[in-house]
Subunit: 333 residues, 2 copies
């Protein structure tokens, strides 16, 4: 790992995006996303995704601006028109925040984007910072077997939920597969064995080789529960909104669904905040399995990392990845 | 197991409810619930819960009818006024269906009920039969440790989601603990060891004795993921709506949150149905880990069991439980 100033990270990413013809508005969204993700320590979903995004957008450049269709108050469908997943997810988030703050609740869905939507918790967290409870789910290329199956049937279909809590919302951001695809890629790159019950090879045999996930399949988290969640996310982000369902994925067919609602429909915000703080304190004060390991609140480690990055103006980035990115930015300019 | 006619099951349950002074409207809801749950094969959440319900309502009879407060269109809060959890969950469901069919979406929450809300999938399934996608979550007495913790910190906080699919909706109904409390009770009753990583004893040591869940704690499903889901459900059903949070539970402090939305905001119902059927067929046609075990769709086994029960007019009930219930109904009358 190497410590890099946030200013330099913004600059290098910005140059690389401009060199690939990414529009300024889109680039601004992508830079913010990568800086936050690296600050928060979500390294599998940050700078490492930049090359993939640029490849996706180089293959099929956007056909125009994001198209917005409001079917009824608080219900909005976006066609990404080939813009990048992170850009479209940000547009979803901005619209969901505006609609939910105005009308109480919102559902915003999207298809027609290219490449990954990134870490969904980045988006739900923004809504929670504005006093909303938010849920976001997305479908992606099939790589996960059904419970009892062998063939890749569903995407790793992540789910994120955020709940307001001052400046440090509570955020759960998880794949419905046993291990996220990004983590498996890291394991494969570093020769680390995949944990048991996470991967099967092409013949359906349990495997500890993370690379087998590509030729075989990933397994769902918690057996039938993760499979059930993945299938329901596939239905929401697929048949319900016109995204891909199952193995019929083509670029631009992934789907995204965000739901947000004001947290204060039923009680005053200060009552909610007090009860939330009391619950978190009670959980933290419980006995620990390992006395040296604090009991953590979902998203807490990332919130601490963000605060540290903001104070120091510096983030820790994978050294090899950083050198590669900087070299490419210089070469491409 | 013993085969019992649905008519006799309805009759026996009805007599036992009347004998305990349960109001006719509430009794009708409870009878339907128990018959459906037994028909569907959800035996830990059906007739077995009747005694617990009657104990809960005997301790503190309802103080009046369910109070309904509509804070804005599609947003409703119920105070159960001490009525039973299943009765209040049914009222939530009826209101959510009406509001969502009228306005597109609904959020209905409840506190102030006594005893268990039952199997949440029973309620979300009703919404799916009316063309709605529905999510229901509930908090319950703390019994599950936080990830890295030992003390019971959160409820088993179940989650159910249903998606429309003709007469057989797709329903996921799961506890966020590794194993549901009902299943652990069954294991304890039959001396079956609890699976690994599901229970810790009072000293926080891993245990295979399901009875230790009572003095120690249950563990969340899928480690930090289940813990995160349980905590977010606790926040929604607790601080957000005025239900209990953490260990401060008192009778009537559990919370319930239901969200429902029309499935056809973005596409025609027939398009959604076709794509859904295609996805399910594709999943079922995949290679199987065990050639003799079909790949199942969440809720499918229960739907088949319901159809069989409806055709035959008979259900399979635990024999001992059935004799006990009938004896009590005769004695109490």
């Amino acid at each position: 790992m190497i410590e890099v100033s946030v200013t330099e990270l913004r600059d290098v990413v910005g140059r690389e995006l401009r060199a690939h013809g990414v529009a300024d508005d889109d680039a601004a969204i992508l830079i913010d996303y990568i800086v936050d993700t690296e600050s928060a320590g979500h390294r599998t979903h940050g700078l490492r995704r930049l090359t993939g995004m640029l490849t996706a957008t180089a293959k099929t450049p956007p056909s125009g601006p994001v198209q917005i269709r409001r079917t009824s108050p608080g219900v909005i469908a976006l066609d990404g028109c080939g813009r990048l997943g992170v850009v479209v997810a940000q547009r979803c988030t901005d619209l969901a925040i505006d609609e939910a703050r105005l009308g109480g609740s919102a559902m915003v869905v999207a298809t027609g984007f290219r490449g990954s939507t990134g870490a969904l918790g980045y988006f739900t967290r923004q809504a929670a910072l504005r006093g909303l409870v938010a849920l976001m789910v997305a479908s992606c290329e099939s790589g996960v077997a059904a419970e009892g199956g062998i063939d890749p049937a569903l995407g790793t279909n992540p789910l994120a939920v955020s709940f307001p809590h001052d400046r440090t919302p509570i955020t759960l951001d998880m794949a419905t597969s046993a291990v996220s695809y990004g983590t498996l890629q890291e394991m494969a790159a570093h020769g680390i064995p995949a944990p048991p019950s996470t991967v099967v090879d092409a013949a359906g045999r349990p495997s500890c080789d993370a690379r087998d996930a590509l030729t075989g399949a990933q397994l769902p988290m918690a057996a039938h529960k993760g499979y059930g969640l993945a299938l329901l996310i596939e239905l929401l982000a697929g048949p319900m909104i016109g995204g891909k369902a199952g193995r019929s994925a083509t670029p631009g067919s992934d789907g995204l669904v965000m739901v947000a609602t004001r947290v204060d429909h039923f009680r005053m915000p200060n009552e909610i905040a007090e009860e939330t703080a009391r619950l978190l304190a009670e959980i933290r004060a419980g006995r620990r399995r390992d006395p040296d390991e604090p009991i953590r609140i979902p998203g807490e480690r990332s919130e601490h990392a963000r605060i540290a990055a903001e104070r120091s103006g510096r983030v820790l980035v994978d050294e090899l990845l950083w050198r590669d990115t900087r070299r490419r930015a210089e070469r491409d300019e």
